[in-house]
Symmetry: C2
């Protein structure tokens, strides 16, 4: 599978951003380790999801290319698929619940995708997608469980390690498991002795339990600020994670916010809650990192700042 | 003077961060140019001020090194001087008004400086500094007008152009003029045909008027969100800017906030209002940049996010 990640990297590297790796003296002192932070918040569309989406669409058959692709997501995968489709020249249809946040609808539309709204009840999205596929033969691009997606997400860790050298640990957040499984393939392929650590919100610990018990637990509408990590593992991501990931640890909501605050205030990086979960794991002291080289993957930086800027503009106008 | 910037670069490069240069496809399309953004928000202490402070302290006489340094500032220069002093092993005394924002006091103290509070009236700070110098023979490190400071600030543009090649334009914000004058020396030294553009808030346009009329106008407590740009030019910065800068343009408060919002939402960069002023100038359409290579300097990213995170934590606790 590592070979696939390498091929994927060659395939997508001209279009996907080679995102920067950042370091922080303050952080290194805090954890007494050498941390290398891979900033996928600087990826196109603001998250690593662009890598997998671009890879999937690069591999479409001519027929599927003509018909177009579809997904159900109101999150980062939707925006990633929308832009990748635009750049590859494929029609993208995104099914979103009627109550999806306006800022996400706007961003996805902005990248040129067609949005179809569905009901807000569980199952409504899947039903709508099935109906549209039946009618138009769109190809479904799943947010995390397809191998092409997993290989694409793996290119972030691939770039990280190729740039800064072998790591003792790599920390990645875990939701559907696309990023974590891809990270484990790339990391172990480049440096077999690395320990790959998945980090999950304690309030959405389905992957932690699945990993422990050897069976996939569904994620039942968990309450976490890390909205990108509310989904369950799929069959492929579960299998890869069980085989290649060394440990999954969990972090509290407060730990997630603290990590996010560190990025914003000390490193001047806009990181979304889900994206800060890997650092929260590093800062949780659950794993001894003394004098180690530690890769940390920021998954994304899409935060709704509408209120924040409206307040600033309001204050301007009152002066 | 360009030679001095080169020597300064060699002197400080091992301690100051070589900050990344970022690009944005969206921005390039918006202004129909190739923009290279030098991210001094990623500099140590969160702003370019660290470069000048470090250079000044690197050049202290053994006697001054023993006695220590002093400045009056509650802004980025205070934090920069505090950390540079700590790293060089010199005592730093910072005079701040009693009503200085707590977050700035805390940050400056955090870097190990001694803080002396003074009154809030105009002139109180200068008086307190004079008194302390008389008593302890500290060396005053001015925030912008010393040549060592100017050369230090110039190393940002020096790194930018050496990294990405000759530019047609370089945009820098202008407050006391340390960054702008240093930028002009470095930029013209490396590519003599570059046009260096200073950008100032319309509400604090003293440098614009000084440049136009050939005499220094004092900045009289102007009302702008760009709090780092409220100061006036000094004799040295004025002289260099008059000679080497091609134009100073002004931007409105709304334009500053729009540029800041672009950085935060599209580029995931935390940039303070003063730091976004150069981009505001680029976006103002006052200068035709079609198909040009445009360097843009972000001066810093120190924004008080206490309220923002308190609100998030409050929401967590209510759930």
């Amino acid at each position: 599978m590592f070979k696939e990640v390498e091929l994927t990297y060659q395939r997508i590297q001209k279009i996907a951003n080679h995102t920067p790796v950042m370091t922080s003296t303050t952080l290194n002192k805090k954890v007494n380790a050498e941390c290398y932070i891979k900033c996928e918040n600087f990826q196109k569309t603001g998250s690593f999801k662009f890598r997998g989406a671009l890879n999937s669409l690069s591999l479409l058959s001519p027929e599927n290319k003509k018909r177009g692709v579809i997904t159900h997501s109101s999150g980062n995968h939707a925006q990633a698929l929308a832009l990748a489709a635009k750049l590859i020249g494929v029609k993208a249809v995104i099914v979103m619940p009627k109550n999806a946040p306006k800022v996400k609808v706007k961003a996805t539309k902005g990248y040129g995708a067609e949005i179809i709204f569905c009901g807000n009840k569980p199952g409504d999205r899947e039903k709508a997608v099935d109906l549209l596929i039946e009618q138009y033969s769109y190809k479904l691009i799943h947010p995390s469980n397809d191998l092409e997606i997993i290989y694409g997400q793996g290119t972030a860790a691939y770039e990280l390690i190729r740039e800064v050298g072998d790591q003792d640990f790599v920390f990645a957040p875990c939701g559907g498991g696309g990023l974590l499984s891809g990270t484990s393939i790339a990391s172990k392929g480049l440096c077999p002795n690395v320990k790959v650590i998945g980090v999950e919100p304690k309030n959405a610990d389905d992957a932690y339990r699945s990993f422990r018990d050897g069976k996939i637990y569904p994620s039942l509408n968990p309450n976490t600020i890390a909205d990108g990590l509310r989904t369950s593992l799929g069959t492929n991501t579960f299998k890869i994670i069980r085989k290649q990931v060394d440990k999954i640890i969990t972090v509290t909501e407060q730990e997630i916010v603290n990590a996010m605050k560190f990025y914003w205030t000390r490193m001047k990086l806009i990181v979304e809650p889900s994206g800060a979960v890997s650092l929260a794991g590093v800062l949780s002291n659950k794993i001894n990192l003394t004098s180690k080289k530690v890769g940390i993957i920021i998954s994304g930086g899409n935060v709704d700042l509408t209120d924040f800027f409206n307040k600033i503009i309001e204050e301007l106008n009152h002066e």
